[in-house]
Structure formats: structure tokens, C-alpha cells
Subunit: 199 residues, 2 copies
DNA sequence: ACGATATGAATGAATG
DNA sequence: CATTCATTCATATCGT
């Protein structure tokens, strides 16, 4: 059964803006007419799969800017994506999970989602990036997406940092590696004119 | 072309009285009289009436957690319903109301049911379903849907007490010296100002 | 039968 | 992190 819970799945959308892929990556269910000419990101099935992998298998719930970058970089192979997309995705996913639990359970209060904590490197069997072999040996058996050796642990509470504070440690990190005209983050610099926070 | 807005609502008086099988076995949804329990929830007239009562008379627009549970519990007496149904109903109702009002900003500026907020301290009238008293049964005293708290005038306690720059990079107990939050994309306010509407 | 409309459901984006 | 807004999809029902 289970004849539902599987609705629209518009794949990526490159309506003349940026065509970076579409080489068989998704198109798995490209039967439904997807007129996603919107400005909003439409995750591809691969991207979703990876995200869920990270979420469930790695326990990633609130990735740091560092991780977000990596994740988005990896996911970019399967379609257009930006850091904020990843950020929002995790936020939403987590929020909805909680909300769902909150709205559904009334009799059973204590039944948390069965999520196992990542054992630092238990994800040896990571198959997050099918079709994409990380050049970095990866003998350790760790995903390229996540941090090698220290991701997946405690959820660093810094979500707000992205928007509110810029507590960046100014690490002269030689990011680079991107030969794309998109820089690291397409997010550009959204200079906000509002800086009021209920504190 | 006159967009007559017909408020057609299938009054499938919960043929099951209390619960419709919903067993995916029968797919006889061809008849109107028959429960077309396809996949999605079909509110009964009673449920809709109560929901609207709450919406208009009580100014309930976005019930949260507890309220949703109470409401769904009450409405469950009139048919199968889940918390998320109530949640979505209010969300959609509010959204559509707004959308409608927004769209008809020139054609016909007739007041669209100006929802009035409960003048604070007036929700004593918890009788949501006037005309028939919802059998309070005997146990679950959830009939107090009408006065599910004081919604309307900032009753929702926003506990937005969080530490902004609390990026505790704890957990990195591995060999890693310390992860430096290299880059942070600012997700604060994407002042895109771009909201094209195409339809 | 088909198109339009109505509405439940889902989710990206954003705010507080 | 919780809550909310905006869009979009999916399906049902009605009108023609």
C-alpha cells in the first residue's frame, strides 16, 4: 500500500538560467511537467537523497557554515544549489520532524525518532555520492561531504550565527578549489538594513 | 467570465459516524455519497463548521501544538482527522483568504469577511458548535475547543531566548585542533526584493 | 470528457 | 528553534 506521501518532485530547474547538469543525474521521474520557473530551489532526487543520508545516517541536523559549504559543493554536482538551500533544508527538515511529532502524538509523549548517533566514522559505507568518486582517496571510508573526522557530533548551535552574528573566526582558509564563476557561496552578500534582535 | 466561488463542500456525513475505514482496500470513490477516502482528508460539514467557527469567531488562525491537538480531538468525533489536517486547514484557509483578498484588489473591493479579533477576554463563549452540543462523552474533556487558551492577542509566548554567538564547537574531540568557522554566508535577510509572480 | 476551481498536502524561504 | 508566509502540486468536484 502506501499510496501516497509521494507527491510532487520537481527536479532541478534550469529554465535558461544556468544549465550545469541534467546529464542523467536526476531525470528519474522527469515525467511530470515541471514548470518550476520559480526562484526557489528545487532539490533533485539525488540531492534529497544525499541530504537525507546526512540527516539520518550522520545525524547532521544543523551543519555549520563549514559543512554547509562542503555539502552544497557536493550537491551542486546534481543540480544548482546554494549554501542557504542546504541551510534551510536542514532547518526545515528538523523543524518538520519535530512539529510532526508534536502534532501527531498526543497519547504517546515520549517516543523520539530512532536516530542513532554517528560513530565518528561508521559511515564507511557511505554511498552518498553515487556516480561521483571523491578524488581524495577516502580510504578512511568517510564521506567527502561531511567533515572528515569531526562532523556529525554535537550539533553546533550556531544557526543564528549565519544571520545575526558574524562570529567568524577569520580563518585564512584556502577555500578555493572552485573554478566555477559562482564563488563559494552564491549567497552573495545580502547587506541587511535591519539589525534588531530581541535580546 | 465570472469566477463564481462556489463553496462546495462534500458533506459526506461521516458515513462511518465515527471512523471511516480508510483501508486502502476499497477504492470505490466514484460515488459522491460514498466516502471517497482517497488519500487526503475530507472534512465533514461538522468539522468544517467547527473549524470556521474557530477561525472567524475566535480568530484562530494559527493554532499551535496543544490547540491543534485539542481541536483535532474534538473534531475527531465527527470523522477521522489528524493533527496535521487541522494544521493544514488553518494554514490554507488563512493563506487563501489572504490570497483572495490580495488578488481582488481592483476588480471588486468588497470587504472580504474582515476577520475580527476577539476583543481579548471574550473567548468565554466556548460554544463553537451552536445548535448542537457536542456530546462531551464522559471522559476526554476536550470540548473546550472554543477557549483553547487566549489566542489572538499575543498569547503565544515566544521564547526566543537564545544565545546569538554561541558557537560552541564542542564535540570536536578528535585529532582536529579546532574547526574554524571559515566562512559564513549571511542568511540574514536576502533582500532580493524579487518576487515575480507569474500565472 | 475536459477545463476551471477548490482545497488538502508539502516544502522552500523567511522571520521572531 | 518555533512559527509563519508563499508557492506549488495533487486530487476531487462541478460546470460546460
Amino acid at each position: 500500500m502506501v499510496p501516497h506521501q509521494q507527491q510532487q518532485q520537481q527536479q532541478q530547474n534550469q529554465l535558461g538560467s544556468n544549465d550545469q547538469d541534467s546529464s542523467g543525474g536526476d531525470s528519474g521521474k522527469g515525467s511530470i511537467l515541471c514548470r518550476q520557473s520559480s526562484t526557489r530551489w528545487s532539490p533533485t532526487t539525488e540531492q534529497i537523497r544525499i541530504l537525507k543520508e546526512l540527516y539520518y545516517n550522520n545525524g547532521v541536523r544543523s551543519p555549520s557554515g563549514d559543512q554547509i559549504q562542503r555539502i552544497s559543493a557536493t550537491l551542486r554536482q546534481y543540480g544548482k544549489i546554494e549554501g542557504k538551500n542546504v541551510f534551510y533544508w536542514f532547518q526545515n527538515h528538523k523543524a518538520r520532524e519535530r512539529q510532526k511529532t508534536r502534532l501527531s502524538s498526543s497519547t504517546t509523549h515520549h517516543h523520539h525518532v530512532p536516530m542513532h548517533k554517528p560513530t565518528s566514522s561508521t559511515l564507511a559505507n557511505n554511498n552518498i555520492a553515487p556516480g561521483y568518486s571523491p578524488s581524495s582517496s577516502s580510504s578512511t571510508g568517510v564521506i567527502t561531504v561531511g567533515q572528515i573526522g569531526n562532523f556529525g557530533y554535537g550539533s553546533i548551535t550556531m544557526e543564528k550565527s549565519f544571520r545575526e552574528c558574524s562570529i567568524s573566526a577569520y580563518g585564512s582558509r584556502t577555500e578555493s578549489a572552485y573554478s566555477s564563476p559562482y564563488d563559494f557561496f552564491e549567497t552573495k552578500r545580502f547587506i541587511n538594513g535591519k539589525h534588531e534582535e530581541g535580546q
